[in-house]
Symmetry: C2
Subunit: 411 residues, 2 copies
């Protein structure tokens, strides 16, 4: 039950020319669920990605990096749930390569033109035969329409309770350009340079070399600013695909008006998906925006924002609708800014001014804090009083259901 | 219900010559509970402390630092529960000073000879009149025996479910030397250079200047190696008092045989108390030792150990007795060691070798992992394969009761 998230209907998802999606039930871990997804790209698409910075990265992440570096032109993505193929050593790499080779043979491509993705339980071997057996059905299912984007969003779910898809159509120089994406994730969410799994496609034509910067900048405004439990996954991957099929002059610079328009649209889709992950965070009952202002640099703003967003005490207070705001001050204090002057801290809960000069605001009334804490969407705003930089992070509360979900998952 | 912790009886706690303790009900926050404690020291005691590194430190912590720096000889400690006097701005400092002045007047001392401590809810004003009204009863109660050490351990409890006290008597150069201490804490526990509140006294005679080093080194082997929820408190304080009353030649060096014997005894008492805090961690059902070996330096070992000890996914897996060990590998991977080679990681659960060279050990069987995970005490051992340094951290699991306790506390 995601917080204030409405699953889009198939007819709200614009197809992206040059992209087809297919889904199958491969029984990777459990029967009767869509757990194998392929995304097929027409020749000529630009593909870039950002991946987990977890040093214990999964085998498919390592293979993705290799295949993108090979520069042969990505033509297909293959995604399984149920098994992360992480913590699987050499055998995991062999398994990921085997899947790519099998799919490449069916599509008459080189294996380096395939990107593999896995999500699910860590440290279990990938059931390669089941995946290979499922590929024909997934390929046979492939189609470009919104219904298939939605099926793919369902096909990549694990502990997610809702599929996550978003789509925008904008005009660039009078030409309609589409951006459509899907993502999955609910737990082990503290993306570091990428999300669990996010895939965004556009038909905009891009100059070679721009796609990686587009992916990175979109991630920094979306997936790289969310956290559910502070656990950076081994499999985080965010991929942006540009098929170039829109009848538009090629975008040569991201900082041009056309480039900025595209970046804004891709970031908006990515942010909607990233927010959907937080809204569907394991056990989440509230969507929390943590904005830290008045910092000297982005790094210290993010350190404070994540300290607040990760504090189990802050998160349980949100769950309880308890304006126990001292817990927020404590988190600000231990965020690691050595020369922080507590006498300059200001704290707001939505419109309510709670703390001024490091102490309780004289006009603050408990009932005002209580009113905001009861809402399903809350903005915490901290002003450090040290500079002019601000950063925003999105998170959710910590509830009984988080413990239930993670104590029961896998068992 | 603390994990495998037996509260010592009064006759298991050795008195420390030169120390008396008194407790009263001051109604700081709730009626009918012991919430005000005084510790009185004879003239000549050496007192040193380590305090929270939370930049949002509480008013009493600031006053403690001032008063210790004044060097006038500490003669009394006054501790209240129910209110942390943190996030209280200038008024909080005035309040902490007011309590010191009042107690100093009653004892005919200078205010700088008093150390104040507060623990409880953050951002509420300290109810000074109630504390002042409670002081005479606390002073009247003061006595040196083990029963009063136990009363004091009860007097400083907040969400603790059990009092925490420990005592050792050792022989140094044939002379009996006593070390007795108390501590409190169950949540907001991730001491950074100190614990919530810990007080250890010894009758050993110490050369001036040794007491701070003794406190620091004992803390680094105890309170500075535990975590419940990763939330560093605003009020962490650990104080070591040496009354010098044992008929022993003055200890001039901590690295002498006598100094080492004393350090070992003080560390052992402090570690027993620190472990008691983890065993009584909010909602804890298991006591977890995380040992990281094969690191290049202590810092990287501690980073990995805390990443494992703080991961909500790892902690819920312990709660569920689920050997979902990939979650441990993921935490090792995101701990921030940029050049970590995942192919060198070894992982053990007690005696069970789970991961070798970064992948599942071929001989590992799920039922062996399951057997260890069902225990109430578990050691996770990670070998990084990078060097010869090791560090150990102690923590507990994350259960439904943690959420209940912190969603209900204060409300």
């Amino acid at each position: 039950m995601a917080v204030n998230w409405t699953v889009p209907s198939a007819d709200q998802l614009w197809p992206v020319a040059g992209v087809r999606l297919g889904v199958a039930e491969a029984h990777v871990r459990k029967p009767n669920r869509k757990d194998l997804t392929v995304m097929l790209l027409d020749e000529g698409a630009a593909v870039g990605g950002v991946f987990t910075r977890n040093r214990y990265c999964a085998a498919p992440v390592q293979v993705c990096r290799e295949h993108l570096a090979a520069g042969m032109g990505v033509r297909a993505l293959v995604i399984n749930t149920g098994c992360a193929n992480a913590g699987t050593g050499e055998q995991g790499l062999v398994d990921a390569h085997t899947v790519c080779i099998a799919l490449a043979q069916k599509l008459d491509l080189a294996p380096q033109q395939i990107l593999p993705f896995s999500t699910g339980v860590i440290m279990e071997p990938l059931p390669v035969p089941r995946i290979l057996a499922g590929l024909p059905a997934a390929l046979a299912d492939a189609a470009p329409d919104g219904a298939h984007w939605l099926r793919a969003a369902e096909g990549i779910m694990t502990t997610d309770t809702v599929p996550k898809a978003a789509s925008r159509r904008i005009l660039i120089e009078g030409v309609p350009v589409t951006v459509t994406g899907i993502a999955k994730g609910a737990g082990m969410i503290r993306p570091n340079m990428a999300t669990m799994l996010g895939f965004v496609a556009t038909d905009a034509p891009l100059a070679p070399g721009l796609i990686d910067a587009l992916a990175r900048r979109a991630a920094d405004g979306s997936f790289n600013r969310i956290t559910v439990d502070g656990d950076t996954s081994t499999n985080d991957s965010f991929v942006v695909m540009a098929t170039g099929r829109a009848p538009l002059a090629r975008i040569e610079l991201l900082d041009s008006p056309a480039g900025q328009a595209l970046l804004a649209a891709v970031t908006e889709v990515a942010r909607t998906l990233a927010h959907a992950i937080v809204r569907d965070g394991e056990g989440a009952t509230k969507f929390i925006t943590v904005r830290v202002e008045g910092g000297r640099d982005a790094d210290e703003c993010l350190r404070v924002a994540y300290a607040v967003a990760h504090s189990p005490l802050v998160k349980t207070a949100f769950y309880a609708s308890d304006p126990n705001l001292g817990r927020i001050l404590a988190a600000v204090g231990y965020a690691g800014i050595d020369d922080l002057d507590q006498g300059r801290i200001e704290l707001y809960l939505d419109d309510v001014h709670v703390v001024t000069r490091g102490g309780r605001h004289p006009a603050y009334r408990e009932e005002d804090g209580q009113r905001v804490m009861r809402q399903s969407e809350i903005t915490v705003r901290v002003d450090l009083g040290r500079g002019a930089v601000a950063e925003t992070v999105w998170t959710c509360d910590l509830s009984h259901d988080y413990v239930s979900i993670n104590a029961d998952y896998r068992s």
